[in-house]
């Protein structure tokens, strides 16, 4: 996993909490910084993609590892 500035553990949370928590964490971060989100909600794979498209933040990476979903989001 590439470098990141902050990590958000959203495991065990269901829609829409991972997105809401990610949005909240991102708003406290600076432009260009990278947030690493860990989630277990399978719906979050499509949701983080859609979130990035609609908010202009960049989804650098999205992958599954050992039943957990990892996302790297770069703040615009």
């Amino acid at each position: 996993m590439a470098n990141f500035d902050q990590e958000l553990d959203a495991t065990g949370l269901n829609c829409p909490l991972p997105i809401l928590r990610a949005k909240k964490t991102l708003s406290s971060m600076g432009s260009g910084q990278v947030l690493h989100v860990i989630a277990t909600d399978p719906g979050s794979v499509k949701d983080f993609d859609a979130f990035a498209k609609q908010t202009g933040n960049t989804l650098l990476e999205s992958k599954e590892e050992g039943g957990k979903f990892h996302f790297l989001i770069k703040k615009s």
């Binding site: 065990g12 949370l13 269901n14 829609c15 829409p16 909490l17 997105i19 809401l20 949005k23 277990t40 909600d41 979130f51 609609q54 908010t55 202009g56």
Partner: protein, 159 residues
């Protein structure tokens, strides 16, 4: 990028129907939408400080019942006193175990994200609901106010 607008009318006062308006409003706010939710009739229950929302299987054949309860309790059994409270408690337990947010949590996220929550003044008067029972930070207005925002919204939902 122009800010998109979401307008919602929330008309239901049960636990299950409390989710759609708050989930959609909070998510839209997270996506940068300007959001207003207009609460009318039973939807006003969702604005109470002390939420006493319940869910009922009565007259709701679509509700999945745990442990084959629908077979043990045919329709009349579901009308027994205490059954609604029991089902509500089970539903809340299930939601908690699945990491689903509580209504209180989603509602405070909406307020935090500046979602405008508007109580229908006419219904408040109709049901003689004391405004002291409602949470802080909401507005009271009528249908005209709703149209002012809904009229140029991008998405408008009746829930």
């Amino acid at each position: 990028m122009d800010q998109k607008k979401l307008a919602i009318i929330a008309t239901k006062g049960s636990l299950d129907w409390a989710y759609p308006p708050f989930i959609l409003a909070s998510t839209a706010a997270a996506l940068g939408y300007e959001v207003q939710v207009f609460f009318t009739f039973y939807g006003l229950q969702l604005l109470k400080k002390k939420l006493a929302l319940e869910v009922t299987p009565l007259g709701n054949p679509g509700m999945p019942m745990p442990l084959g309860m629908d077979k043990w309790f045919p329709v009349l059994g579901l009308a027994l006193p205490g059954m609604q409270a029991l089902i509500t408690a089970m539903m809340k337990q299930k939601m908690k175990s699945k990491g689903v947010a509580s209504i209180e949590e989603l509602r405070s996220m909406c307020l935090e994200a500046d979602v405008k929550l508007i109580a229908c003044q006419m219904t408040v008067d109709l049901f003689d609901m004391p405004t002291s029972e409602f949470i802080e930070g909401i507005e009271y207005a009528g249908a005209t106010t709703f149209f002012e925002f809904a009229g140029d919204s991008d998405i408008c939902l009746y829930i």
